[in-house]
């Protein structure tokens, strides 16, 4: 029980359910053949169907069905082999039909589970209530004209999966972990790119509070469309405080939709109560039920990629990684794929260390994704080989890595160019050792008198003499042999 809001009268806890709208990765829209590409000119990706012209009819994109079922399987959820599209009726400027085609009491995916990996290494299960398919609305642009809004229907009809959690979430931190985990699963599955900034993943949060110890569900407020994980967490913190203050001052909380203002850091009521919603859902008579057989589901199940939870387990088991390292590596599918390529046939722990510490360090500093990494997995893997076979020392490896980042060159080329190859030739090392011993009789005497820690100094001198290229372990062995003789 991590998150408690102190009130005058009670300690309060948060009850949160999330509704995530995830844009299905598809070429064409849910019910028409227009493109789903991001960023086209206004109303250029609009068919007569998307524009709600008279007599137009929806025809279902089968790929969207597959994507929804895949996602349901990824959430270990019940797949409903018969589901129904319903019309959600309301008027809105950017909703041309006057209704949204969605699913209501018979969604394509039923109950499932999402496992949260908590920072302390524990896990927590959050229930998934349902996943349904629906179409997106268009976009209203308010700042192009002093007293008009402009409507662009490019998004109208884009396929969305609405993924609804049970009210199992208790802290803003869990919200963040939930969203990141969900995004990770969707990306692994290839069903949604999870880009919150471009709007391909949007989150509504249903928030209520209750006194600690109580099991009631109080009136909830829905916070709409917050476009980053951080803002969702902030909005919830604000909203929770607001509701607690409301109750504590003897007031009640109205069920309503609220908007988060990220500039002011507060939520505010969104729609006037005059138009109390009554969506008048009913089965869409233009569409028959979605039906498929078990073989269809089995085919998708068989083709499912390894998902983060399974990958994590395998990384720990097969590679001997710590749960923490494995967790970091599997969080993004691209990282996991990169790591596996680096680790393949090499020392996995060393590989994990290099990917997490060195590579991620560079990516973070530059603010780029692993897909844009200046160092390829192949090159980093080769660097690890060079370390493992003593071609270069770990210290030199850092220098080589920096050069790889800067120049994009392969490690062998850099080692070659800069003459960084480690000296592993005993003759050369012995010569250097003899020279140092001959020039430092006083230090030799100190060593022989029992100051064995002087060995480090001698190693340092040999390294210096070889411009750092000598293999330190071999230097140390050679020195010991001569000094102890």
């Amino acid at each position: 029980m991590g998150y408690i809001i102190k009130g005058e009268k009670h300690d309060w806890e948060l009850v949160i359910g999330l509704e995530v709208h995830a844009q299905v990765i598809s070429k064409a829209k849910l019910f028409s053949g227009s493109s789903t590409d991001f960023g086209g000119g206004p109303n250029t990706q609009v068919s007569f169907i998307d524009a709600g012209m008279p007599g137009m009819l929806p025809v279902l994109n089968g790929h969207a069905v597959e994507q929804a079922v895949k996602t349901g399987l990824g959430l270990k959820a019940k797949i409903n082999r018969r589901s129904v599209f319903a019309r959600k009726n309301y008027f809105y400027a950017d909703m041309p039909q006057g209704y949204q085609i969605s699913q209501y009491d018979q969604p394509i995916v039923g109950e499932g589970t999402l496992v949260l990996d908590m920072p302390d290494g524990s896990t927590r299960e959050i229930g998934i209530e349902r996943l349904h398919l629906e179409q997106d609305a268009g976009k209203s642009i308010h700042d192009l004209h002093p007293h008009k809004s402009y409507i662009d229907l490019n998004r109208s009809g884009i396929p969305l999966m609405e993924i609804v959690s049970k009210p199992d979430i208790r802290t803003p931190e869990e919200v963040g972990i939930y969203l990141k985990k969900l995004r990770s699963i969707l990306r692994y599955l290839g069903t949604c790119d999870g880009n919150m900034e471009e709007g391909s993943m949007r989150c509504d949060a249903n928030v209520s509070v209750r006194p600690v110890g109580s099991t009631e569900l109080r009136t909830r407020c829905e916070i709409k469309n917050v476009n980053s994980v951080r803002f969702v967490m902030q909005a919830i913190e604000y909203e929770a405080r607001r509701q607690v203050d409301c109750y504590e001052s003897g007031g009640t909380v109205d069920q309503e939709t609220r908007l988060y203002d990220s500039h002011k850091g507060e939520t505010r009521s969104m729609r006037s109560k005059e138009f109390a919603h009554d969506y008048r859902y009913f089965p869409d008579p233009d569409l028959l039920p979605i039906e498929f057989d078990e073989a269809f589901v089995a085919r998708l199940r068989d083709a499912l990629p390894e998902l983060p939870d399974d990958k994590l387990t395998r990384f720990i088991k097969d590679f001997g990684l710590t749960a923490y390292d494995a967790g970091v590596l599997v969080a993004e599918k691209e990282s996991a794929v990169y790591f596996e390529e680096v680790a393949k046939g090499r020392d996995p722990k060393l590989a994990a260390n290099w990917v997490i510490t060195n590579l991620f360090g560079v990516l973070n500093k530059r603010g780029i994704e692993i897909g844009d990494s200046p160092v390829s997995a192949k090159d980093l893997g080769r660097l690890i080989e060079l370390i493992s076979d003593n071609t270069i020392s770990s210290r030199m490896a850092k220098e080589v890595f920096e050069a790889m980042v800067e120049t994009g060159k392969a490690p062998d080329a850099i080692v070659e160019e800069r003459g960084m190859k480690q000296i592993t030739d005993t003759g050369a090392i012995d010569a250097a050792v003899d020279k140092i011993i001959a020039e430092n009789a006083d230090k030799v005497a100190q060593y022989k008198s029992g100051k064995v820690q002087m060995l480090g100094w001698f190693v340092g001198q040999v390294m210096k003499a070889t411009q750092g290229k000598a293999n330190p372990a071999m230097c140390s062995d050679a020195l010991k042999k001569k000094l102890d003789a």
Binding site: M53, I151, P285
Partner: protein, 488 residues
């Protein structure tokens, strides 16, 4: 030239092929007739220039010997079908100036078959009505008049312009749409043939929607054969309509000659309510006799939920309509009445753009779907609809076709019944059950009332069995010897 408007489609097809006249001559004759009969108000838009242009193209194809199934045949298109570049109104003020940039699948198919569109036909606003008196463009008149009375009669609805223009020989055939009887009832009122095929036979793509689970396009013609020819051209799978059937379209015309020998014809006892006029009851009996004489066996059947069909329809259809008509909001096409805010603009546009009956049905539909009422009204209606469907399924275990009257009365005067919605709704009492079940139905003119007005008999068959439908209709037509021209 007048005799050029007297042919049936089948006859004109022959004569065009034999070059007895040209498609352009045929089109011009009909355009002239339209001009003379403007008083019927059957057309919202006449497309004479376009028609002559297309007729010339038909003549070229006919000359080259590769005319389509309806090459050069002048047709009217109900103004519920979107026609590319041609005003499409649904007889509503709210579609003011709307020229779609697309062509409905059915009108495209008819065009592809070589037919020539003469214009867009009047109808009840958004196909909501049974008398063609709710059109923003004014009521349509029936070319028939009662003997000795100079009262203008309604043509029925909603495909009133279609029925009237076909009966008056302004077009050789017309498209209609039938949601609860809108092809069959006006066909009966105007003494023509009207066929509502199985739901899913004709694509709904590009047809302004009224009630999606019921709307179905069909042909309206002067003969059964013409209907068979036209329906074949209109039908077929359309990947753009999810409720369109992926089935081979039969050669309906080929079925006509097969007769009814050995068929069992169901006579539903529930279609003989106390108030049924004696002349209709007598005509119905006559129809049974004709079929019997042709070798069919009449069987008394029961369709126990018949009584509930009309109230069921008046929940289902307005509910779907309330949602289908939400897109008429003044933003992307048609009428806009400015307002203080977006919602104000919506409310003003829709109040000004929709007529009283449409507004009434939208509000009823909104109400029956609204929170707290859905189960009691909409869900209940869907369950009763299932029972009505089951009635037919059970009946078709025993019989191959069902024979009933099409409408409870002949055409009535314009202005009658207009202040009582429910009296108006009762026009569809015999046609609505088949609409709810999605089965095919047709009306064939079978006789005249005592004062000389057309009366129709309705034939219903199993889903996808339009061939049997046409066989029965053909026998009735042959026996009835119905006068093809209104006695003016």
């Amino acid at each position: 030239m007048t005799q050029l408007t007297s042919f049936t489609i089948a006859e004109a097809r022959e004569k065009l092929a034999k070059k007895e006249f040209t498609a352009l001559e045929l089109t011009d004759a009909h355009l002239a007739a339209m001009e003379r009969a403007k008083d019927l108000n059957a057309f919202i838009t006449m497309t004479g220039d376009l028609a002559r242009e297309r007729a010339r193209e038909s003549d070229k194809r006919l000359a080259a010997g590769h005319g389509g199934a309806l090459e050069g045949i002048p047709l009217g298109i109900k103004d519920l079908f979107c026609t590319e570049g041609v005003l499409t109104t649904a007889a509503s003020h709210i579609l003011d100036g709307f020229k779609p940039r697309y062509e409905s699948t059915v009108s495209q198919k008819l065009r592809d078959a070589g037919s020539v569109m003469l214009g867009k036909l009047n109808l009840d606003e958004f196909a909501m009505g049974s008398a063609n008196i709710t059109s923003y463009y004014g009521p349509v008149k029936n070319p028939w008049k009662a003997k000795g009375r100079n009262v203008e009669l309604v043509p029925g609805g909603s495909s009133g312009g279609s029925a009237s223009s076909v009966a008056a020989h302004l077009v050789m055939g017309a498209t209609g749409t039938d949601t609860g009887g809108s092809i069959r009832q006006p066909a009966a009122f105007c003494g023509i043939v009207g066929v509502k095929p199985t739901y899913g036979r004709c694509s709904r793509w590009g047809v302004v929607a009224f009630a999606s689970s019921l709307d179905q396009a069909g042909p309206m013609t002067r003969t059964v054969r013409d209907a068979a020819i036209m329906l074949r051209a209109m039908s077929g799978y359309d990947p753009k309509d999810s409720t369109s059937a992926q089935l081979e379209v039969p050669d309906f015309e080929a079925a006509l000659a097969k007769g009814v020998k050995g068929l069992r014809i169901g006579i539903p006892k529930e279609y003989r309510p106390a108030g049924l006029s004696p002349e209709l009851a007598a005509l119905w009996d006559k129809g049974v006799e004709w079929l019997k004489a042709a070798g069919a066996t009449p069987v008394e059947i029961s369709l126990p939920h018949t009584k509930s069909a009309l109230p069921t329809y008046y929940i289902v259809a307005p509910a779907e309509a309330s949602s289908n008509l939400a897109r008429y909001d003044g933003v992307r096409f048609g009428l806009r009445v400015e307002g203080k805010s977006l919602d104000d603009m919506y409310a003003k546009t829709r109040a000004a753009g929709f007529g009283a009956e449409v507004r009434r049905r939208i509000m009823i539909g909104t109400y029956v779907l609204s929170a707290g009422y859905y189960d009691a009204y909409y869900l209940k209606a869907q369950k009763v609809r299932a029972l009505i469907n089951q009635d037919f399924t059970d009946a078709f275990e025993k019989v191959d076709a069902i024979l009933t009257p099409t409408a409870p009365t002949p055409a009535f005067g314009i202005g009658e019944k207009s202040d009582d919605p429910i009296a108006m709704y009762l026009n569809d009492v015999f046609t609505v059950p088949a609409s709810l079940a999605g089965i095919p139905g047709a009306s064939v003119p079978a006789g005249l009332s005592a004062d000389g007005l057309p009366l129709g008999l309705q034939v219903l068959t199993r889903r996808w069995d339009e061939e049997t439908l046409f066989r029965v209709c053909q026998v009735l037509e042959d026996a009835a010897q119905f006068p093809l021209l209104p006695a003016v």
